[in-house]
Every structure is written in C-alpha cells, then in structure tokens.
Symmetry: C2
Subunit: 450 residues, 2 copies
Amino acid sequence: MSDLVHLTNARLAHGDQLISGDLWLDPKTGVFLPPPNPAPSTSAIDLQDRIVAPGFLDLQINGAYGFDFSEDSASNHNGRSYTERYRDVRRKLITTGTTSFLPTMTSQLPERYHQNLPFLGPSNSRDPFNGSESLGAHCEGPFFAHNKMGVHLPDAIHASGTTSEPKRVLDTFGASNLLNPDDGSRLGSPKSIPSHVRMITIAPERPGALDTIKQLSQAGIIMSIGHTAANYQQARAGIDAGATMITHLYNQMNGHHHREPGPLGILGGATDVNSQNETRILEQAMDADVNLSHRPYFGLIADGNHVHPASVLLAHLIHPDGLVLVTDALLLLGGQDGTIDWLTRRLTKKGVSVTLEGTDIIAGSCVTLLQCLNNFRRWTGASIPVALQAVTSRPAAVLGLSHRKGTLRAGADADFVVLKEESVPGQSTSDMVVDQVWKFGVKVYDQSSP
Amino acid sequence: MSDLVHLTNARLAHGDQLISGDLWLDPKTGVFLPPPNPAPSTSAIDLQDRIVAPGFLDLQINGAYGFDFSEDSASNHNGRSYTERYRDVRRKLITTGTTSFLPTMTSQLPERYHQNLPFLGPSNSRDPFNGSESLGAHCEGPFFAHNKMGVHLPDAIHASGTTSEPKRVLDTFGASNLLNPDDGSRLGSPKSIPSHVRMITIAPERPGALDTIKQLSQAGIIMSIGHTAANYQQARAGIDAGATMITHLYNQMNGHHHREPGPLGILGGATDVNSQNETRILEQAMDADVNLSHRPYFGLIADGNHVHPASVLLAHLIHPDGLVLVTDALLLLGGQDGTIDWLTRRLTKKGVSVTLEGTDIIAGSCVTLLQCLNNFRRWTGASIPVALQAVTSRPAAVLGLSHRKGTLRAGADADFVVLKEESVPGQSTSDMVVDQVWKFGVKVYDQSSP
C-alpha cells in the first residue's frame, strides 16, 4: 500500500463546488482511489489549498507548436517523423493542463484521411509520459455547406460533393477508420465500436446527412453539426437524427433571426413549429409545446476573437449545462506573432488573432484551453468549479466517458491539474495558472521545475 | 367588518408558486387586507381551487376594439366622443384580465401629443367600473432610428428630426405632459413627479438621446430603448444613462451577431468591451469583466407572429427576471379578419397576423395579454405562477409600483383575476381562461354572467 499517492490540503473541483479534502491515487493502475481504510503510512503531499481539477479535455484542436494533425504523415520534417512530431506536441500540450484531446483534422481529400487517421485514434497506452492522450480523432469536415467552409481547404469540400449519404462518408474517411474491424467495418452491427474516429462535424442539411448522422451515432461516433447553412428546422432535424453537439457555436453557421432562430434556437430545446415560411410563423406555431429534453451540447471558442464576450455570456445563460469550451487551436498555439506556412496556405498570427495571410478571415485560434477558461470566467461571472466543468466533466460527458475522464471520483483515470489563482492588473477576476499536471497518477509537469 | 370580502379555497399566485389559501379584501378602500383576527362572520366565496392572479398589466397597447389611442381626440365617431370611446375600450379591456395598462401612442406629430396625452394619463379614480386603469401613457416614438420605424407614421418620425436632445423631446410631447405642473414643468427638480406620460420608447443612438434618457429617467419617467439601430455599445450606453427597459425585444432593432451582439447582448449584463471595430473584437475584449447588475427589463410580443417560439424561449432562458409580456395590440384586438382603416392607413388582419394592407409588414398584434401568456407557457415550459409574473409583478416592478400593483399582498390594490385551466386538443399544456375580474375589490366581470 505504500506505493499509493496521497494529496492533502487541496480544494477539489467536484461538480459545481470546490471541496476541501484529500485525494488518493494509485500510480500503478493510474486511477483515483477511495480513501484507504486503514490509511497507509504514506507521507501526504501538501497542496497548500491549491485547486485540483480533473485534467482538461479539448474536443477540437487542429494542431499546436508548429504541428498540424492534418499535415502529410508520410513526410519527415527536420528529420522527425509524423509519429515523433505528434508525440512531441502531445508532451507539450499536456503542460497546458490538457490531459486528453481529440486530434482534429480539418477538411482534407480522402487520401489524407486514409493516411493520417490511423495515427490519431485512441492512444491505447497508459504510459503517463506519452503526453496528452488522444481519445480518438475529430473529423471536422469535409461534409460542409459550401458557403460555410471558413478556411477549410476548398478542394476538399468540393471533392466531398454536395451530398452526405453514409457510403460517401465511409469511403471518404475509410470505413476501418470509423468502425472497429471486428465488426467487419459495417454499419448496423449492434456491437460496433468506434475505431480511430470519435467525432465528426457535419452539416445536417446536405442530402443524406440525416441518414449518416443516424447510422454513425448508433455506431458510437459523436456526431456534431457545424459549418452549416441549416435553418432552425434543419438543425433540429440533425439533433433528432442523433447528433448530440453543435461545433463551435456561432462560427460558420447561420446567425439568429427572431423569426428564423437558426442553430442557436435549438439550444433552448425543441419547440415544434412546422414552419415552411421563413419570414412568417405559421399558425401552427401557436400550438408548439416546448420539449426541453433535446438540447445539444455545443462547443464555444472563447479566445476573444471568434466570439464577442457578450455572446459567450448569452450562450452560457441559455444552456449552461451544454457549454463545452474548445480551443480550435492551430499550429500557431505556442507560436510567435508573424506569418507561417500552414498546409497549402499561410497564416498570420497577431496576438490572439489568426487569419489567412492578407485577409481578415479568422483561421482557428492560438490560445490554450486554460486561456479560454480564464476568459470564460471573466465574461460570465461563473465560479471556478462551474467554469471548470466546461473543460472537464462536460466534454467527458459528450464522449460518454464520464466514468473515466473529467472527474476526480474513485475509479476514474488519475488525470488532474493543480491550479493556483493569480490576480491580474486591471481585472477584477483572478486568472488560474497551471502549477502541476498529473497523468495516470504520475506527475508529468511541475511549473516550479519545468 | 361585515363589508369585507373573503375568498376561500383559491390557489394564489405568490412569487413563483401557487399557494392554496384565502384572500381578504375591502371593497371600500379597494385593497387587499391581512387575514382579520378575529375573522368576521362574513360568508366566504368558495373559488373551488381556481387560480387567483394579480390583474394583468400591459405596458404596450396601442388600442383595441376598433379604437386607437392615437386617433384624433377632437373628433366624434358614431356620435361618441374620444372620452366615451376611450372608456368603452377600457371596460372591454378589463374583461380580458388586463386591469391596468399604459395606453400607448405610436409616433405622431407634436399637435397630436399635445391634444391626446392629457386624456391618457393616470386615471386618478378608484371607481371600479371605469374599466382597465391607465397608469400613464407610453409614448412609443417618434425619436426612432429612421430605418427602424416599422409601421409608425413616417411623417412623424421625419418631423422628429435626427437628434433627441431634451428640449426637442419636451417640445414634441409638451413639457406639461411629461412633468408635473407643480414642478413648473422643468427638468432637474429633485421632486419632479411624472405627469401624463409614464414611459417613453427612444432610440439611444440619436445624438442627445443619452442626455434625454438621463434627465427624464431622473424625473421618474421609465425610459425604454427601441425602434433602434443601436449596436451593443450604444444599447449599453442607453442603459447606463438610465433606461431600464428594451421595447419589444427583437422587433425593430438590430439582430444578434456573434461579434456584434446588438441589443440582445445587453440582456446578459455588461461585458465592458470597448470595441470600435464591428467585425473584430479588439484585444481589450480579453480584459472584460462581466457586470451582472445592469440588466434591463424587456418587452416581448408572444403572439405567434412577431417572434418565433424558440426566440421567446431563448429570451426567457437568457433573462427570466427581465421578461415582460406585452401585446403591442392595435385596434384590431377583438376584431374580425379583414381590412380596416387605421389612422391614415389601412390594416389587414388574418388570424393572429396584422399587416399594412397589401404588404407583409407586421403592424402590431391583435391578441390579448392572456393569449400571449398561454403561448409563453407552451413555448417555454414555465409554470403557471412563473409565467404570470411576466404580466403581473414584473411589469409592476418596471413602473416602480410593486407595492401597489401586480401582487396579492395586503395593502396592494385588490385588482385580480380568477383563472381556470382548460385543456386544448393537440396541446400538452393547458390554457388559462379568465373566469372573473375584480377591480379595486369589486367584481367587474364574471364569465358565467358576462
């Protein structure tokens, strides 16, 4: 029993509260333990009232530290293979508090998916020194509305055609990347388990998309609607078909209009209006009954560039239990201001802004999830534990991993972050700063000895 | 003591709850009483578990039953004077449950304000048979954004110019209509009491408007921003200057954009972003700290025509404590489908839709506050007492009359409505129906003997 780790004098983020207490974990199995009884004679680590939060989960991150998950995995860079560079990035990423993530591929041609996705699946390793853990890839695209592609590769979106029927989607990503080979890579098997891909962002209004959403969600893949020209009804249809999330709310989708609420409208729940006329609500609107059971999760980029702070606050007020902070970070995370190559194009970073070179078109972010979290707290007034939920328990719930990730409960993976509060001149809200990061019960980063 | 009225076996709308109990009132003084001790030998009226709600308050109603508050008060119609027709309308209006209201003038030329406003001030009568009680006029316009005039009289808005400095506003409405003559009709008097006008809707971005908002709100007039082209910052400035309400949220104002949230954005509270650039949030956005203390009330037209049910739900989720249902009803309330004269133009009613003849331009509503209330319940899932707050205690709070109106508490005016629930085919939510209306402690309407 002397191999157990005992942390004491911590403020533990449990639900919407910070609770003073102790934490026990087993570095051999990498999980949290209930308090042993009798307690072993382990000398406890005194956290001096610092905050312990579950490790952060980022459901949408395209790259960082000069590396893009979508880059050519067949090429070496500076003598280092894709595998090596991918691991380097994970080891840096974990120092920001993000202990798990979905490596996110932007829209690519089919060959690139076939080539890269096998690298990006769930880590299947409990080596704490492998860096941040992939929980599977997020394919953001290419089945988008052609007028909502943002900075995604136009060739890839055009190559995806205008429909999204299941066969087209499977062929594009490669069936074995979506479905576990044990199932014969077929849809409809009752026991199918997702393979390398954990999440897909798709526009629900493309013909065939609802079938694809239904079949892939039943196969265990998280379907998220985004980069979409869907109106309110079409967004609703996506959720009704099995999508459980909206990708980066507000960005690359129709805005809210009071008589055509668009995707924002579905955050409140379902009001079953059968309106064919977008400028006038039909009389059957009068018969609508609200159904609060169909409310999707939604990603939100609180980088101070994609979305106005007041819009972040509105989203939080509308559906606090659905809000998931994501970085949508690109390879410029951790980089300097300036212009660099990005796949086939070039990006300019200036402060928190990343744009396609020579344009005002926003191209992902360059912030950490912790920065988003600090912004979110300031802009919403959310308490520390409530804000933490948006990067811990809630993204874990999106993935169906609440038992294992995003929690400090006994039995879950002992991935956690030790945080301290720092006051910032000119701000009334303190920032949180990462002091330590632990992965599978082992301390892998300490700010005092980086 | 035998003159007291005792109602028993009622479900009383108190705050966000229905509480079974008794109600005592004095028809002589017209107020609710605490339960007398000892109880007098009055035979109690058994309400058989029906709901008792405070009488409804409508802060925005332009007319009803063929009468428009803005019509020429010097002319007789069918041999009846403006005063007689105004009283006729109030006596019909009270049967809908609306026991108090702000008679609302649409944008008119100055002469019409000078002529009509003296008729529309607070009733100053406790005669229960005078019908629904005016709590003062609401001047909706003419100081609007010229591109947000809706169906208001263009001549009136053009005549108002493009600025809204205090002198121009006083001259337009007539100083004695705004300020009590006892003050010498001057602004800045510490004891000024509003005269005939209780509320003004104004666009805050017009030059001089902030000064006017500041001075008139200090003089006790409720200032509401609306018919406005204000962006987020300009809407905020209106609230900071002293406006406490937004007129019919969503309608005749800029929509929400995620990087320029517009008036909707200020419902969440203040996030102090000093953005000059409407398409990119400046870096100081990162330093914004939310201030939840500056949240305006807002009117909302839940008629099934002005606003999509999902947008009603969003507004309720964003700021439930600010939501005030208003009818924005025109003279077509209580009328038949068809086309009729309206001031200098013609209106077409078809179901719940009222439009300028031959166009799709929405022109007010033709529904009762009770219909809005029933819609609101269905679209939001709000409980009966919570929904009732949006037509009782909350509009009373807007007017600073919480002690006297919109409540069943002892000491308040005994204005109340007896409601029953009726199931509606095809709806999972019941509708409420008005059974009785009491004004100043006297039953003035009984559905069973209308």
